[in-house]
Symmetry: C2
Subunit: 340 residues, 2 copies
């Protein structure tokens, strides 16, 4: 397998990307191709004292910045590392693409350059949702599109379920639809319609899920439109930050509480670690003709390494082809049922 | 002023409602009228050893349960305590109505029996949003309707701002629109349109607010549709519960952490208290021709007392009339601007 890394994507590129590639090369038996400015990447490889032959460089002299408009950048910056990398996947010169660059550009670029999987109306960015004390869930849509039709929500459930099963190795993932209440008739016209469609599939559809239950691992695949997904992810981040800040403040109240804080050092470190989902790898773009993974712009070498290792099944397990076949089946099931 | 309490609404009715009324009667110089089953309420008053003349009873022999369908219950149960109480506000026999009963029925009943304020398309339930370490915000819509038009979001901002200013006493409340990003062009067609409308008002509109900033008191009035509002409130509840459970688990790890927990007892109690917003009173229904406040179904006597005390300005400060006038002004402003 050939894993293609966007050498210029993210705040710490190319240094952390290259370091992560070197760590990954020691851990997996696959070729790693770094796309980007050749001299800069070569220099980082020398800094890592890398002398192996698993890592190669494909030159790309331009890059897409965080300020670039996604559509324009993908169309005009033909020599940007992200565009070159995506084209390698398209042309069969690579099997998995990983980037920490401009999220909008990566989603748009995946759609424009790789194309949608046949039967999929809207490719989407999924995201890992941290559930303290439980395995994480996969949230789809993580904010790639703001409005979704019922059919899009069906696609999200289906693609999310296949990803969690094939890539995370969970059997019959529980698919839940974010809604106002658990009863079947709850919600907007879109969620009501999506509920009926999801019910017709072979998915392990657990029905509507209230937001209260999401952090308690109510389901493995959290299905919602991009607006709601964005609210769920960002509110979780903001609230966790605020609660931990408050706890920290209370520990600094006086000598006694400071002493207690010292006694709890191990547990406090654990708590911080519980919020760190780097070990689960990056966030997949689902519904395009090729495996693409988005990593955080601030990813460290260790996050890059994990994204490589955890992302391999996205390519090896034929997720793209499985989604294509599943969409064919679903189209038949739902059509038959609508005719009845 | 005459404050009308739904004596039969909530899990602890009538006992905690009556106890709360007795506590409130000692604290405020207003008449308190409890609507409900006369004998049961009289018995609770005797249990409280109440002998004053501030509290009176208006009999109502039926009640709306949590299982009742809101519209049907309001239309058919003419002698339910909630219906009798709302009709007292309508007929000028009371100035403020407070209920811990079926939320849907209270919203529907307020609309049907009191009617919408002239110019308001959609009355709405607001909710107090707890911000640890800051004063709470008011979230509108808290889930009364699942879909909203741009004009509804404008109304929510306007009504929320008037309520926070008049009832909570905050000058020029910061009104924020929940959106995908802070930039003006972000979001769905509805939020983009709502942004433009809110900008044209005299409100202290702080623009789009990302969900990450909500727990950090990004604004005093959080404007969003009912679906998103429901997700924000319930996710906050579920996540806070899960984080505190995890912290508690870590404190129980071993002898040393248990000792630290004992040393932190005061601070842990404080933390629990920080999540308790009973002292801020109940959640107002905004946009109907009369002040109505919803309290939690599990409200204790102390919550009932606080809802009475904190709810008085909703009636005394002419919030309803202020909303009516503000809607007239806004209709003019936005019309003028659209003609330009």
């Amino acid at each position: 397998m050939r894993i293609v890394l966007d050498g210029m994507g993210g705040d710490n590129a190319p240094a952390e990307i290259v370091k992560g590639a070197v760590q990954a090369a020691a851990a997996v038996d696959h070729d790693i191709i770094i796309v980007g400015k050749q001299e800069a990447i070569e220099e980082e490889l020398r800094n890592c004292k890398y002398t192996g032959d698993k890592i190669t460089i494909v030159p790309a002299n331009d890059m897409i910045t965080m300020e670039d408009s996604p559509v324009k950048a993908i169309r005009r910056k033909k020599d940007a590392s992200m565009v070159v990398g995506l084209n390698m996947i398209k042309n069969g010169e690579g099997d998995l693409f990983i980037s920490g660059g401009n999220t909008g550009a990566l989603v748009v670029g995946s759609r424009l350059l790789l194309g949608r999987i046949s039967g999929i109306d809207r490719p989407v960015l999924a995201s890992i949702y941290p559930c303290l004390g439980y395995e994480p869930s996969l949230l789809v849509d993580a904010g790639a599109s703001s409005e979704s039709k019922a059919n899009n929500l069906l696609e999200y459930g289906l693609m999310g379920s296949i990803y969690v099963e094939k890539v995370w190795g969970r059997k019959a993932p529980r698919v839940g639809l974010v809604n106002l209440g658990v009863e079947e008739g709850k919600g907007t016209s879109v969620t009501k319609d999506a509920y009926q469609r999801l019910k017709l599939t072979d998915l392990n559809f657990v029905g509507n899920v209230e937001a209260r239950e999401i952090p308690k691992s109510a389901c493995d695949v959290i299905v919602c439109d991009g607006f709601v997904g964005n609210v769920i992810l960002k509110l979780t981040e903001g609230l966790a930050w605020n609660i931990l800040k408050t706890v920290k403040g209370k520990l600094m109240t006086n000598i006694k509480t400071k002493l207690a804080a010292v006694m709890l050092k191990t547990q406090l470190m654990e708590l911080k670690g519980d919020f760190d989902y780097e070990e689960y790898g990056g966030a997949p773009i689902l519904g395009v003709n090729g495996p693409v993974i988005k990593i955080h712009g601030s990813s460290t070498a260790s996050a890059v390494k994990n994204a490589v290792i955890k992302g391999i099944p996205y390519a090896e397990e034929n997720v793209v082809e499985t989604i294509r076949k599943a969409m064919l089946d679903v189209a038949e099931t739902i059509e038959i049922d609508e005719e009845e």
